[in-house]
């Protein structure tokens, strides 16, 4: 009897243990820092604009089924779902024998691979620009070159995108969805409170990283809030740090990673430039003390929350996430500004990236055709007809509707007419004081800031290593920066040797 009760007791405990350990998070997932961008939304009164989509049958013979992984999640606003239902209805009218199956899918490298192997991946999905080359090299995505050539947009690809979305033979496996450039989000309310405002009411913002530290200090002293929110968790910290490091001179011969003359990938975190950049991180915490309280557990959304609710004045973030602090977290649109990434002592770079559309490896030529037709309806191809203009209008009107800034977008297509028309429509719906954004867009278009893509190989792992160093530096006063960087370098080098140098 006693033995029985003992065993039962054990089992009871085990049940607690198991129920506690039975599940596990996917927090450590390979979610790339590349900003997740939201699909366009639309409000219901804009339905009439949508109805202008042509309903003429274009190709009654195209017969296939496509699963749509770019469908919005069920958490999306009803209006957003309505927009996609509209796209679907249009497609079904134009191609009566194509069946569209909504299949919302939140892409991550780790969840995609087994799906692609198991044949359950949606026919179209949206990875960030860090992943296409890996997916292409592993034969995990479908070729759409012929379908693109058929509709004549192959040559309009901007060359940098061709490089990202094609294999060595020039076959195309993806299309750009949108791009972003890293800059800085500003909470003007806190700048105003700290007196950092000019006679026109515009924020006096930091042009250099040094000024960033000093202004941050003023803001902390005057308002008691954090000058800068720095999401130093997982890969985010390292991601932002690479941009800081570039501006401290970690490019060219001092690059964080490069291929030596033998073709071997080498990483270099111990250059004087990188050390200086890390010392800057140290000073942000220990000298100027401008970072938010829980930097090492703050993630991308958390950083936007801090800025949006007035807990922090500045946040390194991109032009495609301006809706986050504003319409999403509640910062009034007139209290928000987007500025260029501050220059460092050795340079002025801004990280550029984006999201693309890719396709499951098993698509048939007919499916590829249908998918291109679908993307055309979505307005993601450089075509200008009434439908697409209507779609754009609907998109921007919806943004304006919910109080998100309507801003010029950085185009992924080399098509002047297309880009000009798009810009004209945006101007029409613009709901912000462009003076709060001009410096950012001018710096990109005038080339006063150099756009730079993410580090070429195993960026996620590199970010992870650097994040760990940042965490050590900002949580332990007097941490040995050289030693920490050296350890991270050895660890990442070992990783590179394992993965590509062998």
């Amino acid at each position: 009897m006693k033995k029985y009760s003992l065993i039962l007791a054990i089992l009871m405990v085990l049940s607690f243990v198991l129920s506690a350990c039975g599940g596990a998070g996917q927090t450590a997932d390979s979610k790339t820092p590349s900003e997740p961008t939201k699909a366009p939304e639309i409000s219901e009164e804009l339905g009439n604009e949508l109805s202008s989509f042509s309903s003429d049958v274009i190709d009654p013979d195209l017969t296939c089924t496509i699963t749509l992984g770019n469908w919005p999640p069920d958490t999306a606003a009803a209006s957003e779902l309505a927009l996609f239902e509209g796209y679907k209805a249009t497609m079904e009218k134009q191609y009566p024998n194509v069946t569209l199956v909504p299949d919302y899918y939140s892409y991550s490298l780790s969840n995609y691979v087994p799906m692609a192997k198991g044949g359950t991946a949606p026919n179209i999905f949206q990875p960030p620009f860090t992943d296409p080359q890996l997916l292409i090299s592993q034969n995990l995505v479908g070729d759409v070159t012929d379908a693109l050539a058929e509709i004549g947009v192959l040559e309009k690809f901007s060359p940098s995108y061709v490089e990202m979305l094609a294999d060595k033979n020039g076959r195309i496996y993806g299309l750009p969805r949108d791009g972003y450039v890293l800059g800085m989000h500003i909470n003007i309310e806190l700048f105003r409170e700290a007196g950092l405002i000019d006679e026109e009411g515009l924020p006096i913002y930091p042009k250099t990283l040094q000024e960033l530290a000093e202004y941050g200090q003023i803001i902390r002293e005057k308002t008691g809030k954090a000058g800068l929110v720095f999401p130093a968790s997982e890969t985010y910290g390292g991601w932002l740090f690479t941009n800081i490091a570039w501006n401290f001179g970690c490019v060219g011969e001092s690059a964080l990673e490069y291929q030596d003359e033998t073709g071997r990938w080498v990483c270099n975190f111990t250059s004087p430039e990188c050390v200086a950049a890390m010392e800057y991180m140290r000073d942000l915490r220990w000298k100027y003390n401008i970072l938010n309280a829980d930097a090492t557990t703050t993630d991308w959304a958390g950083a936007h929350s801090e800025l949006g609710t007035g807990e922090a004045a500045m946040n390194f973030a991109a032009d495609d996430s301006v809706d986050q602090p504003t319409s999403n977290k509640g910062l009034p649109i007139e209290d928000f500004a987007l500025i260029p990434f501050p220059a460092g002592p050795e340079g002025r770079y801004a990280l550029a990236g984006g999201t693309c559309y890719m396709f499951s490896p098993d698509i048939t030529p007919d499916q590829a055709r249908a998918l291109m037709a679908y993307l055309k309806i979505l307005g993601k191809l450089p075509f200008l007809d009434d439908d697409i203009v209507a779609g754009m209008r609907a998109d921007y009107a919806a943004k304006k509707d919910r109080g998100a800034p309507v801003l010029p977008a950085i185009s992924a297509w080399n098509d002047e007419e297309y880009n000009a028309t798009k810009r004209a429509i945006i101007d029409e719906y613009c709901n912000v004081d462009m003076r709060l954004y001009n410096d950012f867009f001018d710096s990109v278009s005038e080339g006063t800031i150099t756009l730079k893509a993410e580090e070429p190989v195993f960026a996620q792992q590199l970010y992870r290593e650097l994040t760990a160093v940042i965490q050590r530096v900002i949580t332990r006063e007097g941490a040995d920066i050289n030693k920490a960087l050296k350890e991270a370098q050895e660890s990442f080098q070992e990783y590179l040797d394992d993965e590509i140098n062998s």
């Binding site: 405990v13 607690f16 691979v113």
Partner: protein, 301 residues
């Protein structure tokens, strides 16, 4: 009875067949959900993997590579640190709670209910809830409470020395009450006449606790101890959600390391499986040591 015994031999065989047939669905499920995947992961640990395909048998290379990295050493030390702190924070508390609640007369059911409540809550919800408690800003719950007694705001989840004790505290909050009920059941099975007899012999309350109550749960405590160690050794999603393993890997656990290899972007299922096999091996060794001592003790009895 005689009738049956005539056909016993044959009946037994069909009966055995039928018995296996009854167990078959359960066995198939156990194989599919538990045994086969387990063997598969052992096999995977010996292969170079590309995504989920086994590319090449590489012997122990995954193990060598995994063990050689600094984050493995760190995770191993952390995992033992988790275990250490769980013994400090989580082992005695349920015993004390059981003793306290066991002595109450009025409201015993109420106390028991309150103690068990946290255990019913979904683990993920509990972790998310506690993350707000330990937020380092002025709006963090702990900071609000401390400010009431005049202590300035602190940070918690960014302190390398604090994260492990904090995570263990959260896990203890969830589980201690339920464990206490198990101890209570064992304590309640003590023959109360023993207390009476001891009292007549002049033993005071404290002496009765030491000489009668505690010995009565000794064996149970030993068992629960090893189970606790085993469970804490597998800690994973608590640090994943609370600290993401940080700062600077200060709360990274072995299982979390496994998760990082598999789903952290590198998709190295071979190395992930190697970590899994190492964890399993450590757990088996611990269990073996326990049952060895346990058997010895039983013999002694």
């Amino acid at each position: 009875m005689k009738k049956i015994s005539i056909h016993k031999g044959r009946g037994k065989r069909t009966e055995a067949f039928k018995s296996w047939l009854i167990m078959l669905p359960g066995l198939v499920l156990m194989t599919f959900f538990v045994w086969e995947p387990l063997l598969e992961s052992v096999r995977m640990s010996l292969y170079k993997t590309e995504n989920v395909e086994l590319v090449e048998f590489i012997g122990l290379k995954n193990f060598i590579s995994v063990i050689g990295k600094t984050n493995f050493t760190q995770a191993l030390i952390n995992t033992f640190s988790y275990t250490f702190w769980s013994l400090i924070i989580g082992f005695l508390l349920p015993i004390v709670l059981a003793m306290l609640i066991g002595e109450t007369v009025r409201g015993k059911g109420f106390f028991r209910t309150a103690a068990y409540l946290p255990n019913m809550l979904p683990g993920l919800a509990v972790i998310i809830l506690w993350s707000a408690f330990f937020s380092g800003g002025e709006s963090g719950v702990l900071n609000i409470l401390l400010s009431k007694i005049g202590i300035p705001k602190q940070t918690y989840l960014t302190e390398a020395n604090l994260v492990i004790p904090i995570i263990i505290t959260v896990a203890t909050w969830k589980g201690a009450g339920a464990t206490a009920l198990i101890y209570m059941a064992a304590m309640a099975s003590v023959n109360t006449e023993l207390y009476e007899a001891a009292a007549i012999d002049g033993a005071n309350v404290w002496q009765r606790v030491i000489h009668i109550l505690l010995p009565s749960i000794k064996k149970l405590a030993g068992t629960l101890l090893i189970l606790q160690i085993i469970s804490v050794f597998q800690i994973m999603y608590e640090p994943m959600v609370l600290t993401k393993g940080g700062p600077d890997n200060a709360s990274l656990s072995l299982m979390q390391l496994m998760w990082q290899y598999a789903f952290g972007g590198s998709m190295d299922y071979g190395k992930a499986s190697a970590v899994a096999v190492i964890v399993t091996a450590i757990l088996l060794v611990m269990t073996a040591i326990y049952s060895y001592f346990n058997r010895k003790e039983s013999d002694w009895d």
